[in-house]
């Protein structure tokens, strides 16, 4: 492991740069996605959205993303199903993970919402091909990922359809939409609170080291759900609603009720996103740092260098404020006819799918679930127009993520081998 000794600091600097740019790209692209539905439906202004995103992303990254070691280890263990890699190749594998970062940056630049997890898996496959050989890869697992391109959007689309249709049946398609909205929206809030709490518990709290059993997790989530529903009822009661309004105004008032809901979901989405994706951005960096510090050994429990997490959090916030602001602004003016109720149906479905998926261990991406959910609301005749050309491009970008990630990691493998003369 000569190269580690002689080029260690260079590797760390490269890793830090790539990590920062990944966080920057995630902030500019992914966060804009998470906030887009809220802004598009006019539940939040752009400024409010950015503020919420900054606070909750950073909080999520700092509180729930704190113990990234488990993510790093997960990253390595995730590789074991694909290949049986000799220990000495561990460093190469982590360097290969940069390929994923490069692809993510490129995709973000092109505006494609690709999956971070899938990029990393693609990179691992590519590395396994050159370093060990194709027999090391368990192709059965890869088929599972390919399946998730169809299954994930299908599940979240179906849930979004159900949520939207239930809102139709219970609220919009009744004689007194406003009265029913006041009655049922707190229930939806509780439902959303339940799902969001589950996401945070499953995806977030384990990073803080708060290991919670399924029973406690569910109990806590239910408790939060009831609390959220209660607070929601109070918030709705304080809404400025004109009871003498005509039929048309009543729909507007109903949407006002849903807008309260959207603000909440936006906060939770940002928190969950921050806790999850900061780890994605800085995971490989943390791995490289720990490997360099341990002179090439993969430490079973890697302590996180103090500067890594703020770097990631700062990268995300910077990306959001500089590039994401523009993206969100275009959306805020570009999307028409995405009302709070429809945006809510999509977001709740996406979040529920994330919970279901993390229960079954499918490697999914938030964008996949969101795209599926938006399609589901559209299918329920809820959104005025969906651009199928863009949907097709997004699906294509998911599919090419694996091969491109693989190809890039192969290229980087050879470049590094040439550069360091191994």
């Amino acid at each position: 492991m000569d190269i580690i000794a002689s080029y260690g600091s260079v590797l760390v600097i490269i890793a830090a740069l790539v990590g920062f740019f990944m966080a920057y790209g995630i902030g500019a692209n992914d966060v804009a996605n998470a906030m887009g539905t809220s802004v598009g439906s006019k539940a939040l202004t752009i400024k409010q959205a950015i503020l919420i995103a900054m606070v909750f992303e950073f909080a999520g990254a700092y509180l729930a993303g704190g113990e990234v070691t488990s993510t790093i280890r997960k990253g390595i263990i995730d590789a074991t199903p694909f290949m049986d890699l000799p220990e000495s190749h561990g460093t190469w594998y982590d360097l290969g993970a940069f390929a994923a970062g490069v692809w993510l940056l490129l995709a973000s630049y092109l505006g494609w919402p690709v999956s971070t997890t899938h990029s990393i898996i693609g990179a691992i496959i590519g590395f396994a091909l050159v370093a060990v050989g194709s027999e090391a890869i368990q192709w059965g697992k890869v088929t599972g990922i390919v399946g998730s391109w169809i299954v994930t959007p299908a599940i979240s689309g179906f849930i979004a359809y159900l949520v939207f249709m239930s809102a139709q049946k219970l609220i919009f398609d009744t004689d007194e939409p406003l009265k029913n909205a006041k009655r049922f929206v707190p229930v939806y809030m509780g439902l959303a609170g339940f799902v969001m709490a589950l996401v945070t518990i499953k995806k977030g709290l384990k990073h803080v080291g708060l290991q919670m059993g399924n029973v406690e997790g569910f109990a806590l989530a239910i408790g939060i759900a009831v609390l959220v529903g209660f607070i929601g009822k109070l918030a709705i009661g304080r809404l400025n609603i004109d009871p003498s309004a005509d039929k048309k105004m009543q729909f507007n008032n109903v949407e006002k009720v849903f807008a309260v809901l959207m603000v909440m979901t936006a906060c939770c989405m940002a928190f969950a996103h921050g806790s999850n994706d900061v780890a994605n951005a800085i995971g490989p960096l943390a791995a490289v740092v720990s490997i360099v510090e341990h002179n090439g050994e993969i430490a079973k429990k890697a302590a996180l260098a103090w500067w890594i997490l703020p770097l990631g959090g700062f990268g995300i916030v910077a990306g959001l404020a500089i590039l994401g602001k523009r993206v969100i602004k275009t959306i805020g003016e570009g999307i028409t006819h995405l009302t709070p109720s429809r945006g809510f149906a999509a977001e709740l479905a996406a979040a529920s799918t994330v919970v279901i998926a993390s229960g079954t261990g499918l490697p999914i991406s938030t964008t996949q679930t969101l795209v599926g959910a938006v399609l589901g609301v559209g299918m329920a005749r809820g959104i005025a127009a969906l651009n199928m050309g863009v949907v097709r491009n997004i699906v294509v970008s998911w599919v090419i993520t694996l091969p491109v990630g693989a190809a890039l990691s192969i290229v980087i493998f050879y470049i590094l081998r040439l550069a360091f003369g191994v």
């Binding site: 804009a32 919402p113 398609d173 005749r381 127009a385 969906l386």
Partner: protein
């Protein structure tokens, strides 16, 4: 930075421009009422101003129609058929065109409506404008229809509006027959060419209501899917 791909999923909705379009179209037909009030008295200068307003509105409607057609690409998933929307706006646009033609022709010939039929004629114009107003209100329900997923209560509500639109159109037909009869009684005293044009104008005014009804039936077709 290219615009975000995920958010590109939400295409610009064609619903709002279509509602906007019929509003302008209705304004154009509505302007015919003050136009004729001045034309009755032979106040051609004021009438010409109203004619200009109609022409401007018609141009505005044309522009909006073009925008809708251009921003409605093939790969769009919508709760309504693409062809239905395109035909809807085509029919809407014809109302404005007709209003422009009527005003233009009356001004061009400085066509005096005989005093004997003026009262009935104005009532007839107003009724036809009622039809375009009804059509405009029905089209304005499109976003509420969207809200309810084109189902249930709201559909019944719009269907009722369309029945009302049919009734208005029926009214204008009856009024047209009556006014033709009145014109027939006095046509001997008129310049034959003026009489010819009067018949033509009466027919065209009726077309406003016909066209409004056609807009309504397009909307009905959308509900049927």
């Amino acid at each position: 930075m290219p615009t975000n791909a995920f958010l590109g999923v939400f295409a610009k909705s064609p619903i709002k421009p279509i509602e906007e379009h019929i509003k302008i179209v209705h304004q154009a037909s509505e302007t015919l009422v003050p136009f004729f009030e001045h034309a009755f008295k032979g106040e051609w200068k004021e009438a010409a101003e109203y004619q200009q307003t109609i022409r401007n509105l018609e141009r505005e409607a044309d522009e909006l129609k073009r925008v809708v057609r251009l921003t409605l690409p093939r790969g769009l998933f919508m709760p309504v058929e693409r062809t239905d929307l395109l035909e809807l706006i085509t029919h809407q646009d014809k109302i404005a065109n007709k209003a422009k033609d009527i005003a233009g022709r009356v001004i061009g010939r400085e066509l005096l409506i005989p005093a004997a039929i003026q009262e009935d004629f104005l009532a007839y114009v107003k009724r036809c404008v009622d039809a375009t107003k009804q059509a405009s209100e029905a089209i304005n329900e499109l976003d509420e229809l969207l809200e309810t997923g084109f189902r249930g209560r709201e559909v019944t509500f719009v269907e009722k509006m369309l029945v009302e639109l049919d009734a208005i159109e029926q009214d204008t037909d009856d009024m047209q027959i009556k006014i033709r009869r009145e014109l027939h009684a006095i046509e001997g005293q008129l310049n034959p060419i003026d009489a010819m044009f009067l018949y033509k104008i009466i027919e065209w005014v009726g077309t406003l209501a016909d066209q409004a009804e056609r807009v309504g039936s397009r909307l009905e077709l959308m509900l049927a899917r």
